[in-house]
Amino acid sequence: MSLELFIQNLINGTLLGFVYSLVALGLALQFGVMDIINFGHGEFVMVAMYLTFWISLFLAIPGSATVVLTAPIFFVFGIIIYKLVIDKVIEAQPLSQIAVTIGLLILLRNFALAAWHAEPKGLQYQVLVGGFKVGDYVISISRLATAIVSLVVLIVLHLILTKTYFGIAIRATSDDKVAAALLGVNVKKMYTLVFGLGCAIIAIAASFIMTFQQVEPMSGMTWGLLSWVIVAMGGLGGLSGVLAAGLIVGIAQGIEITFWDPRASLAIVYLLFILLLWFKPKGLFGKR
């Protein structure tokens, strides 16, 4: 094993870490504001990846360009799922919420298995291909572009949350929904929009993930597991917490791949998570 390989894996891990943050961002936003964990989160990512695949195929446009369609479609998808499903359990006990969102997970996964079968699908039309060399190291263009898009989305969301009235109201609702309602915030409407916004972010992530990965009906599992770990690690620290946790997970996987079997990379993530729970039970940035 060489130092070059280690550094190469570190670079890849860092780039991947940004995407992880972006995927977890949708979940963190929904959880932070609505206090509900969507166990179907990973499956939403999977469905958005298929959506990217089909739009790219039928319109013959590159996967990265489908985002102008997948994001709005998923915003609407999120609103429909909220109205039909989430809204019914938003005031219910956690057990009902878990049961319902796991129901979403199973529904979407089985639907994908039945409709699209098990074989992986990858994009036919691509513009983000190849890579370039920096010294001895190769940087993949698709992964770099995805990392940049992730960072841009994070920054834009941060600006929305801190500089706009809508964003301040989102944070206020997250802090205390009764107080927000007393000041005139329509909390249910806020939840609907936030769920839609979270889903739009999922779609942006998914469309770019498709530029370097294939999708199959089980793809959602990995993304779901990673997102829950990232939100648990960094969620309470706001957006910077999610970014930091995403990078830690990505880099940890990069290091693991260098020294051990790549198939164990998810195990390492969970090992890291359990260690963190030992030493910082409230997460990396837990204030509450």
């Binding site: 301040i168 206020a172 205390d176 309602a181 007393l182």
Partner: protein
């Protein structure tokens, strides 16, 4: 009629908390509801605000029925509650908390002028405007809670135990601020455990005991009444 509450019956689950509660507040009047812990004072305010739904009874505001409207709709009509325990947004700055006060369309357009007025009224808050609310002291937090309500340009300001948990010198300060608001013509419904203070500054008062209104009258008269003196002032 400005605010009229009639025959309100409110339950927490199976337990009845308010029994046929009726009272009125006229425009520009300051009314206080006093009573001991658990008498139903907070419940009354939360029901007017739409956080709790009554089993029966009606609430009218400016001759319009508002019973069973959601909180944000009631807020839109000009009723603002400074809730018990203040309920600030702990992770928002002082300015952001205040801007949230002006969330209503009606107040939003004038939010920057109102912000200026509110800072004049509470200069301490201006000094702290970039601080997040959870770092404020108890007195500052109470000022912010009141100021946030004022940002909504309320026609009716409801205050739930504004003096609770404050040091005596701060209690004075808070009551000064409330008196000041009254003089500026704000209609106020004040709920207090500090019976002497509440009755002293209010035009009229109602005594709430075990969820029932047992006595009403002018603030000064109630202060002199045998019953109030015995039960609440320990004289």
């Amino acid at each position: 009629m400005f605010l009229e509450v009639s025959n309100l019956n409110v339950y927490y689950g199976m337990v009845q908390v308010l029994w046929d509660v009726s009272f009125k507040v006229e425009e520009r009047e300051m009314v206080t509801i006093i009573g001991s812990n658990g008498a139903g004072k907070t419940t009354t305010l939360l029901t007017i605000s739409g956080v709790l739904k009554p089993k029966s009874g009606k609430i009218f505001f400016k001759n319009e029925e508002i019973t069973n409207l959601p909180s944000h709709e009631i807020s839109k009509r000009g009723i603002s509650l400074v809730p018990e325990g203040r309920r600030l947004f702990p992770n928002l700055t002082v300015t952001e908390n205040l801007l949230m006060g002006a969330y209503n369309q009606r107040a939003r357009e004038q939010r920057f002028e109102t912000l200026k007025e509110v800072f004049e009224l509470f200069p301490r808050l201006e000094e702290r405007k970039k601080q997040v609310a959870r770092t404020l002291s108890g007195g500052e937090a109470q000022m912010l809670a009141i100021a946030r309500s004022l940002m909504s340009k309320p026609s009716l300001l409801m205050l739930d135990e504004p003096s609770l948990g404050l040091a005596p010198v701060l209690v004075e300060e808070v009551f000064e601020a409330i008196k000041n608001l009254k003089e500026r013509g704000t209609t106020i419904l004040l709920v207090e455990q500090n019976v002497a203070k509440g009755l002293e500054i209010a035009d009229r008062g109602y005594i709430l005991e075990n969820g029932k209104i047992t006595l009403e009258g002018r603030g000064k008269d109630l202060l002199k009444s045998e019953k109030v003196r015995k039960a609440y002032l320990a004289i």
